[in-house]
Symmetry: C2
Subunit: 406 residues, 2 copies
């Protein structure tokens, strides 16, 4: 690592590293061809990357007649760290330079214990996993946090129910301890980027990832990258009013009433399920409550798939409201794809069918006539792919290259 955050010296080196990261080992000749450089120039850049330890050489490449070439790949000692924090769990993953997971650990936690304790434990796990993965240092780390994040500062901003995390310098603490570049983002942006890297979003330049879990949020991919907006808060759809024109609507954690999250999402489903049991409207939910003492969104999802009419109606109503909000976003943002993920995406096709039906009916035909709306296939793994990809993209940025086209 030189003084700047960037790994490569120039855009040609950055393109080579991206190709090796995303497509794996290549011959020197292939790598030169892929970047459109002359053979001499490609040799110079490959030798520079080798000298700096960013790539390494494998065996001889298959001959293409005349030219002799050897294989090159991202240095096998490269390690990225991903930390995914949830309200009640954390998962830590160590990847190689091609962003493949090498070691992982998951455990339950409680973010209300505060950032120092939670991050301290994450660092312990990271140190252990780094050893397990045969590494000696991290090249970079990405961390996903539920709730709004000031991306530039690397700090959460007013996360619901987590006052101790407000403006806490997560990036600063981790960068100091890990001695490497660290980026902090909200978990939905990382899920979106993970889907771009290796999921259903891979071929799309512009798409929308929607997480439906305890909360509801969106990640926007524009031009292949996470779009964060002016303050890094883009993608907040959970607090869209879905009772506009009405005076009432359930109270929301944000202080307003009638927000999407106040109607749907984990807490809202629990609340509505309990109300149904108390009103004597669902024997299926009552039986589950008697068994476990609580009713979660997963109980509703499960009861819905087993045909409980009250649960089916809750899922349909929630899907309908999500669909109404997404219809608005489709007309406004015109994404090429919508990916639905998060814990409640497990409800599956009944939820998806309701969302699709509303979006296709209520959004601008030009924006939705060829719009796929699909479930995530990567699930939570997308968070780690997104975290590693985020910090890797950051390392591959060449200062000034972005503004050169203006």
């Amino acid at each position: 690592m030189d003084g700047t955050h960037g790994w490569p010296d120039n855009v040609d080196q950055a393109r080579m590293l991206r190709i090796l990261r995303d497509e794996g080992e290549r011959s020197r000749a292939q790598l030169g061809d892929a970047t459109g450089l002359t053979g001499a120039r490609a040799t110079i850049e490959i030798d520079r990357l080798t000298a700096r330890g960013l790539i390494e050489h494998g065996g001889p490449a298959v001959s293409r007649g005349g030219r002799r070439s050897s294989m090159v790949r991202i240095s096998s000692g490269t390690r990225f760290l991903s930390i995914a924090l949830g309200a009640h769990s954390m998962e830590v993953v160590v990847t190689d330079g091609e962003l493949r997971p090498l070691a992982r650990a998951a455990e339950s936690t409680d973010l209300r214990r505060g950032p120092a304790l939670v991050l301290g434990r994450a660092l312990e796990l990271a140190a252990k996993l780094l050893l397990d993965a045969g590494g000696d240092r991290f090249s970079g780390a990405g961390i996903g946090i539920p709730g709004p994040v000031d991306f530039r500062d690397g700090a959460p901003v007013a996360p619901p129910f987590l006052p101790g995390w407000h403006r806490f310098g997560v990036r600063e603490l981790l960068a100091t301890e890990l001695c490497c570049p660290v980026l902090v983002d909200n978990d939905v942006n990382l899920l979106a980027l993970g889907e771009k890297h290796a999921g259903v979003g891979k071929p799309f330049d512009t798409f929308l990832f929607v997480k439906i879990g305890a909360g509801i949020g969106a990640g926007l991919i524009v031009d292949g990258e996470v779009y964060r907006g002016a303050d890094g808060s883009a993608g907040d759809i959970g607090h869209t009013a879905v009772s506009i024109g009405q005076d009432d609507g359930p109270d929301c954690v944000c202080g307003n009433t009638g927000c999407l999250e106040a109607y749907f999402g984990g807490a809202a489903l629990s609340r509505d399920a309990l109300a149904a049991v108390r009103a004597g409207r669902s024997a299926a939910l009552a039986a589950r409550l008697a068994r476990s003492g609580t009713l979660t969104a997963h109980d509703v999802a499960d009861a819905a798939t087993h045909g409980d009419p009250v649960s089916v109606a809750l899922v349909r109503d929630g899907g309908h409201r999500v669909g109404q909000v997404l219809a608005t976003m489709v007309s406004f943002f015109n994404p090429g794809l919508i990916v639905i993920g998060g814990g409640l995406a497990g409800i599956g096709h009944s939820l998806l069918a309701e969302i699709r039906s509303v979006v296709y009916r209520a959004s601008l035909p030009l924006a939705s006539r060829a719009l796929p709306i699909v479930l995530s296939e990567l699930g939570t793994e997308a968070t780690h792919l997104g975290a590693a990809r985020m910090v890797s993209d950051h390392l591959l940025e060449v200062p000034g290259a972005r503004s050169a086209r203006r």
Copy 2:
């Protein structure tokens, strides 16, 4: 013009041309400094641009001690064409290479006469204005059309009330007649780009332009450029449902009910004003109706500024609904600025106050705590600036330069 659409051969030439376009005449030395090139390399590129007739030399520059330099500028013969179509009017403007208007003509028209007649007349005006502006050919043309446009095809898509324009090859016709590159976009995108070029949006990379006129629409600027989305239809907010959760709401031209445009915008205001007169609720509006035989949105705006309570209430209600939709967009898109323009923006500060109050209350604090919401100062002139800038940006694109950073 060479075989590609691009003017410059490389990104350095493109940067020089942008500087000269946006900042005017510069000395050779200043231009070299601004692009960060060595003196020898700058000289080569400047000489190439001169040889191709894209720039020309003025008098000697003020000495900076030692170095002698002459002034260079965009070739004074450069002419861009802008055509702004409205439902009932067209305006044609010819600009120079610095996008300054040199000649203009405006007349009333009726788009329902069909594209062949309307565009034929626009071409007549363009030919006359080109002579008036001392030009012999256009380097490029931009045209703004009210309603959805397929940007890639350069054709309107299902514009309301204008069946003859659906999928009509506007770009193809104009490019054939003008023998130059032509880009077609919806008028709101051009207004947004005009505000970026020379209006209140100039210092902002990411902002939202909202047009409130006969219809309501938005133009999104991302990373300094118009964001069009996957199908070129981004920015449609007029058909956002603002009666979600209610079964009724006024019918909209789009076929749904309860859209923002069905509540506010030119047609809705006329409708509501007439209803108020028929119900005997507004003497001020009744007097206006008796005078002119119709009631337009401008009558309502004018009566509101003169204190008619019914008109004031209509403007407030409209501003409230616009504010509700914008609050959602602010949380989702997190723009750095919102510019309000279009015919009804003339209602001015009572409308703006209502919009601000709702947006600041109902959107995510992180996204709106430092968000300016202002009226356009450029007015309709932004369309022409946007049209000329759009085609000029297109000419300054260097093939491959955009993807080089990936």
